[in-house]
């Protein structure tokens, strides 16, 4: 049993490792591809990887939401827009800006790594029974009791967003004249 557990742990860990690395690679793909359509596809891949990871970390409900909302709704929206605007490849120039950006991003990465290895913070142990953890029921209970105000606010936000989008879409804008300074 012990060995099986170890093997299972090892398999579990390796799956997490592989999926995690895939997620990182997919994200790299998003940034490095020049054509928006590929970027979008890589992003979908990345989202799915994350959903898997969520599953692996006992968050079934969120994994499902991730797939439905992100990989589904949001990315479909992206696809629509790309289809509407045409997936033109962009030309990369402005190397100074790029170099600056990369320098600082790598520094940021280094700093984040450093802070990641600082050590464990004091754990806050929750009181959720393990069998309930991450299920829709648990989240629902939590959401509708403790976070009810925030929940309602979020729904307001979505409503406002919907109205806003309708406004933006409905009124046609005359082409702006470039302001000459």
């Amino acid at each position: 049993m012990l060995e099986i557990a170890t093997v299972f742990d090892f398999a579990h860990d390796s799956v997490i490792f592989i999926v995690g690395m895939t997620a990182v690679l997919a994200s790299l793909g998003v940034v490095l591809c020049s054509s928006p359509i590929y970027c979008a596809l890589y992003l979908i891949g990345h989202m799915i990887c994350l959903a898997l990871l969520f599953l692996l970390y006992n968050a079934e409900f969120l994994a499902v939401v991730q797939i439905i909302v992100y990989a589904g709704a949001v990315m479909i929206l992206f696809m629509f827009i790309i289809a509407l605007l045409g997936g033109k490849k962009e030309i990369q120039e402005n190397s100074f800006h790029r170099a600056m950006a990369l320098t600082f991003v790598f520094t940021l990465l280094g700093e984040l790594y450093l802070s990641a290895t600082v050590g464990q913070t004091e754990p806050i142990k929750g009181d959720i029974p393990p069998e309930l953890f991450g299920t829709a029921k648990a989240i629902g209970l939590e959401l509708f009791s403790k976070h009810i105000v925030a929940f309602e606010l979020a729904s307001c936000l979505l409503l406002v967003a919907a109205v806003g989008v309708i406004c933006l879409a409905k009124f046609s804008f005359a082409p702006l004249r470039r302001r000459v300074r």
Binding site: V31, A59, L62, L77, Q92, A101, L112, G134, V165
Partner: protein, 99 residues
């Protein structure tokens, strides 16, 4: 896998998203980069929620997703409007707020 690994993955994705946001000029891709960054944070929240056996992280992630969805919808509508008025997909050309 321990916390270090999770943190590394999350940090890497976050930085890649940041780099993408700064380097790319296509507003769509910049948006995707923002999604990457949000996702990396979401990931961290979910994993730590599991480590700490507390659902707060997941709830937080859920809200982030909600907000992100709203943000993407409005953002894309704005991008669409800008494209309709300017016929141009390069964010560098949109500098009306220049000082």
């Amino acid at each position: 896998m321990g916390q270090e690994f999770v943190l590394l993955i999350s940090a890497s994705v976050f930085c890649v998203g940041t780099a993408g946001f700064i380097i790319r000029k296509n507003p769509l891709i910049m948006f995707m980069s923002v999604e990457l960054m949000l996702n990396s944070v979401n990931f961290l929240l979910v994993t730590y929620s599991s480590f700490l056996n507390s659902l707060d992280g997941q709830i937080f992630a859920l809200f982030i997703m909600t907000v992100a969805a709203a943000e993407v919808v409005v953002g894309l509508a704005i991008i669409l409007t800008i494209f309709r008025t300017r016929q141009d997909m390069d964010v560098d050309h949109i500098d009306v707020l220049k000082g």
